[in-house]
Symmetry: C2
DNA sequence: AAATTTGCTTGCATATTGCAAGTGTAAAGA
DNA sequence: TCTTTACACTTGCAATATGCAAGCAAATTT
């Protein structure tokens, strides 16, 4: 259980209160770029998140309306996590981090193709990707509405 | 003392390893937008960082070459912290966070003017601001070179 | 010479993280 | 049907990080 404390009215501070940790943006990244959508999917990611931390981050993201829990079409045992528009709109932030990292850090070769594409036409890329994510978003309905 | 562990080759993950916490970006924000440059300045910020945390974050930022320690022109008792180009190039990330926060969070009225300006002409704003920060950057010389 | 400013460090209580193991329900296999 | 297995967590506990208050040394001011 995390507290929804607001340290100030600063937009950066408020934003960091929501996703300013080492894991939240990685979950969103997985959902945006790797079509991951279940608890098990997130556990498989390279960084190796602990199960309890994943649970707590998913809860935080849901509380902050960045993700929604859906019933999985394949099985009742599974839970399908979906990005909200609020999270999709973090794409520009995530893209800018990519560009910065590309400039200053040593990054894995497999992501360089995407970054190259972004560098060519950033706005076009963001718009296209946003549209695509929105399409995925509107595909199913939430179970949390049933409560 | 923080460890420089890299969880993966992902640009987001690597970036979060550097500034993915609740304080680092706030220090950079203070240096970018409020001309803060000393330890005492950072302590005065609205969010209320603890002295030991501030010291540890400044050290981390320096280790990651986002800031440099300079001797303060006014006094030997003071230390002047300065942004590097690497940190200045985080401006687009910070701007995008502002835009996202403006859309989804309740933010203080005093920052709305700046956001409005950004929304009008983002690229122009970023370029102008970057130039200005760079000008400030090239004004003094580092003391860490003396070691 | 004494008091104050400045930039930290130190000690300690509390909170968060990470790891390993366990739990409950649903689905799949025998 | 009975038994595994899959899945999404929860729990306990050790390790680490954070937050608060106090302390401290060097530089500056009074």
């Amino acid at each position: 259980m995390e507290k929804l404390k607001k340290r100030s009215g600063c937009p950066i501070s408020c934003s960091l209160d929501i996703f300013g940790d080492k894991w939240s943006l990685l979950i969103i990244r997985d959902m945006m770029f790797s079509q991951k959508s279940t608890y098990g999917d997130f556990l498989k990611s390279a960084e190796g998140i602990a199960t309890n931390i994943l649970a707590s981050r998913l809860q935080g993201l849901e509380e902050n309306k960045l993700i929604e829990k859906l019933e999985h079409p394949d099985s009742k045992a599974k839970v399908l996590y979906k990005l909200t528009q609020k999270a999709i709109d973090l794409l520009p932030v995530i893209i800018e981090i990519h560009l910065w990292a590309d400039k200053y850090l040593a990054i894995a070769p497999e992501v360089k193709a995407m970054i190259k594409e972004v560098k060519k036409e950033k706005d076009v890329y963001v718009k296209r990707m946003t549209k695509e994510l929105k399409k995925q978003m509107t595909a199913e309905t939430a179970i949390s509405n049933k409560n």
